[in-house]
Symmetry: D4
Subunit: 231 residues, 8 copies
């Protein structure tokens, strides 16, 4: 009786109650991805405690939006932890098995978008993907993009980060025949409205193969890209 | 010499100049999808002209956001055209080959979201997918969703339409381990701000496997879902 | 003659003029609640002066959005004052009589929403309620919530705090048959617009038993919950 | 074993699948309220079908945001149906048992807010409450409100509708010691932004006993008021 | 004494008082352009009256945002008047002297942007320019634009109209070395926010040679382009 | 004992209960102005009923935002009623006593702003003021304004209506030494955001003698101007 | 010949060029007010230089939005300068002649609004008015306001400051028959949107004698109030 | 065969890959302008590296939005670098050839707008233009502007910076017959919304010769002005 079984399974999904958090070991199973910790809004102590629990069941760990202080604490829990200062990511990459069936390309429009692109790259790698990066190919110098078109067409999924007018995903989407996940960045000033202009632009993309995630959410884009890349 | 070759190929991409439109036959090749006509903002005459051109090279055709008047004109160009009055879609579905590797589930939160879900369904089908629909499973009666969880978990990609607070993709995203493409709908009133509330909610989804398209863009969601489903 | 009497009573409502503030001792009488001080925008000196006046007539006192410096000053006025650093609440809880007829449940979606939930908890307790807390039960891991459904259904009123997409109150509202007071939190980034996304989502909730208060207003939600709980 | 029992109960929650809608008979049980149909976005046929199903299990029925055409169709399903043209509500009120423990006061600021107040009144009555109305008592003629203060203080819950600057709930909230549910209305022009100004005002109310629902949502306010009035 | 002279000249600037309007014949002198009538918000009678006055001093006349009814009335004042139904422009083009030193290119992204592009074209022509149009060259099919690059580089000024994400001016700006005047159009739906998304995108253009005018303001863009083209 | 007296007086303020409205005859006494009816949101019947009551105590009556149908009904109640079709105002002007101590100037920027200016003019006249109008003096033809500077400086208060960028009040404010009441109008398109651009501009006026009322609120501006003009 | 005279006078209006500023001594003449310096965005040096120039021609000087550092510098230019730390105002009040014909009341809703009210008070005094202050009379404790109604009715103009929902001006406006200048303050959090909620509320005031200035603009309100009070 | 040639040329456009940036030497050729570095979002090291590359091919260099630390590093790369502290611009001005055919006037409304005006001035000079500045001529003291009208009319292009209500470009646009490039500045507070009010005002300018750039984008305005001035 499948409905009952589903419910039963739902009920027995494991989570671990740390008091301030209910760590969901099962999500790793469900999604086939390691659990990820968003550092902002959590104390270093809390992050260390969650990290310790997660590393009991996973060889890989990703912490996003952290800083040097958090890194200091995590380092004690996991010697192998690396810190990526542009994006604030911390990564334990014990298991480097490639799980994705193709390459993920991470593209960004300008030098200032690199921190968001880095978060995407670090995420995609720790989720078991080969990553190809292509930086500073904004649309006002379209030849830089076209010169690299072959690298784009070799990817199975593309993560595309851009601030300001956020036009890059539309152009990239038109050049390839794979899904493009657009990440608006908060790069810009004035009427960029902290990334809202880029976000709105991407949501209105005239290329039909573009979907969008939240502003500066390099992690989320790479997470979905990884999931697609395993299909 | 790959760069030059790429450029050469770019240059020779075919498009057909109708004066008021440059019909891009190549996009069908690039994306492996039939070209699609967005009816709004075009006259019935223009739509008929573009349809005629496209049907010379494709057995399938999709026209979105049309009305009965447009249908009357298209019917003369293509006898087999069907009209879907809720969503305003017109479809010629001559080639019914299944190209997707799995099922696409199209889910919606309430009865009023059905027009957007229908646009997604019609699109996914004409692009060669098996589609499973699941309607009126909004989160305020969570048992209706959970009772259908098995159907969700059998899909390879999910398109999830919701208006008002737009909470459904977050719950669905947590129940499955495949990409969820969220479509905010303009269903609601007052503070729904014509779908902006749902859009913002979906962009902030706490489920990491959710990406978002424009408000009421059932077509776009199904287009990307089809692309993913062929990978 | 009831109208005249009402007016007369209105006129004689006591308030005390401290120059910079007109302390409304009567509100305690009218609402049956202790007066509460919102610390932000007041100097430590002013807060101490108002505290002194209020404690002459009440055994309980609540100060919200304070900091350590304010706590130092209040400590001198009231030895028994406690400080809650996550939310910045200061509480004198001399009279612990239970006035509410049932339990108030304080629920929150993620670890980062705890400061707002704590403000609600501290408020509900000082107003004479038994409080049940349920933290980190966001909708992307719906099993964590469903596993705790019994605790929800035992409450007489529910305060439900969530940031990002703010979907939790809709799901909770569907599971229970009591009023749910939704508190959007400013947790999130980018398109969360400092809590506006959650606020809009909650105002559009498809669950009919949900009302909403201002972003991060844990105090206000608990205040109304207390009032309902005494009915 | 309570958790399992809860889940089992959840699974067996009855709903009836009409194809385009999953009618949730159980909500009536859970909330102790009749199911309600939001007419906008549904065809007269669909409304008639849902009405027929609901009236099999309930003597009372409420349809909101309907029009004369819908009324014509519903009239055939239920002879006793009444139509309220200001608000567009349709009501079958077969069971007039009073379930609320006290009175609900429905207050509005101006003549133009009456449609929203009427929706609240009709809802509160069909849910089994005695309702007291107090119309056109906006704050710019404060004496009209104060002259009616006794009627306010006799209510157990207050629904308070106001457009334009939305100031009435703050004043009412200060005069009474019961929960006030504020309904912003879309009455106004220009900077009223279709009710957003009133909504924002109410969310920022300096009276602590005020919670808010969506713009023009007289139904929702009365629903929660009914729920509170039964506690 | 130049200051005094300037003031004196300012004082004697001619305008003609029609009661409801002060017709500024001098602007034609100052700007070297015919006066233009914005039809929206004026009655056909008023438009006819102003037209009559203007045609006494100019051989050319432009009326924007008119309709067939206005055209009927203007036709009586000026036999030679043409009507452009897509944009609603009415034009008397008696003097066809070419005043611009080069070509103005009017470019648009999609078929639905043509009405705005037409307003720009009609304006630029009546102001004495040779105009080159290039339609339906949106960035998702970048080869259509690149194939026409020579035509772009031959222009002395470019007017570039695009709705949805408004990305075209950035790409065009990068391909040419002349000023690009970007016109956001209200083409799109949902998050296009009636052209605001395109407007914000263009204001944040990463191409430095782009300036922006109001949404759908084809006239304004062509007016400035004409002024530049005479320098 | 002045406080008690004040309260007593407050209580006895007369208002007349028509059921759907509480007509506040006292406001005329308090403000020294006739009561005014905002027609929008009221039925012709309601307007007629309120008009009849008001005309029992006042020789003057003003109805704003009405239409021909309302005028037909009011005409039966008050033979002398005039209708102003641009603004939709209806006026009974039985008592033409001049109560203002000086002139009120009503200035507007363009022909399309005249309806709002007319509402201001009609209001100021019925409130007993001499009114001077100055139309179509927008800032892009500054000589038209400067040529009329003497007329501005002879006014005791100025009402200044402008749409689009709303710059006129700043320039007028700098030319005179009396209060300027700025009325943003909804004239414009695109980024005028239905008058919001003009409203924001006026609120940020660099002239210190400018205050602002709601978009298109010619009535409100003239009401305050009348009140000032009687001081 | 009045037009010419006006122009001539305009031309000869004195201003003094300091390079970075054109000090407009004439505004004092035109408006009968001392020139005022907005400190924010100017360096202490610049402020000192402008102060020195202004004090040559005026006995009174007002500097708004300054800080202690600026005060230190101004103190050297003008020994008699006072500093008001809540509002950041600096005042030289050498000429204390009363020029206003009546009292100006400065009213505020809460303790946190006092800085803005202080700016209004300091401004009104230096412009030659008697000022009556009434603080902490927010609408949620309406008896505090009504108890002080006599003081309100004795004023000739009222400046009314309120944050959060900004309801106070509507209530005050209904109690008096003089102009009320409403000042929204940035007091509040979350949905107060830094004062926008209060601003929108005040613009939609149902009291017709209310006009509005920019958020936190106590100076501007008092400036206009002074101008009205001299009429 | 011109299309092929264009594509070939496009392909061979030179850019230099520094890893984190693709320096586009060709833009200098295409636009005839030196490449410009936007410092914000780049590290001093990155800026120094890019500067070194650019100075190999250009005698002139412009860095915008830098600070003293960046200046220290750039100074080592280029001895002749000047720093402009108000705007944060760094300039190497080795080649002072005048390339513009006329003067560019840079006008600003108030003292606080000078930083943005300075960025425009520095940019226009380094691009080979004679620049005329006119500061503190805001519209509330219109005589200051009119007294300088001759200087305006001598310019070939005008850059016009204003914050608050942003009215200056409309008045300037009406006084001259050349293109006016409007730069909204973030000067103001409250309802200025960080420059959005000025931006919206300028986009709605009633002067037809006004185009707009992003908030505070003095550089962009001067860049386009330079391009126009060479035509």
């Amino acid at each position: 009786m499948p409905v009952e079984t589903a419910i039963q399974r739902l009920r027995h999904l494991p989570f671990e109650d740390l008091g301030f958090a209910k760590v969901d070991h099962h999500r790793a199973l469900r999604h086939g991805m390691p659990e990820v910790i968003l550092a902002s809004g959590k104390s270093p102590k809390q992050i260390a405690a969650i990290s310790r629990q997660l590393l009991k069941q996973n060889k890989n760990l990703l912490i996003t939006r952290a800083n040097k202080e958090v890194y200091g604490v995590v380092k004690k829990v996991a010697r192998a932890a690396e810190f990526f200062p542009l994006s604030g990511a911390i990564r334990v990459h014990g298991d480097r098995t490639i799980l994705g069936k193709g390459k993920i390309a991470v593209v960004c429009a300008g030098t200032s978008d690199i921190p968001v692109a880095e978060e995407a790259q670090v995420t995609a790698e720790v989720m078991g993907n080969e990553v190809e990066t292509l930086y500073d190919v904004g649309v006002a110098g379209i030849h830089r993009l076209i010169n690299n078109r072959e690298r784009l067409t070799q990817a199975r999924v593309i993560v595309c980060c851009a601030g300001m007018e956020g036009a890059l995903p539309s152009v990239v989407g038109g050049l390839v025949s794979v899904p493009v996940i657009a990440v608006p960045t908060s790069v810009g000033y004035g009427a960029s409205l902290h990334g809202l202009a880029a976000l709105l632009g991407m949501l209105n993309s005239c290329a039909s193969n573009v979907t969008v995630v939240n502003i500066d959410n390099g992690f989320g884009a790479a997470y979905v890209a990884s999931m697609i890349n395993r299909l």
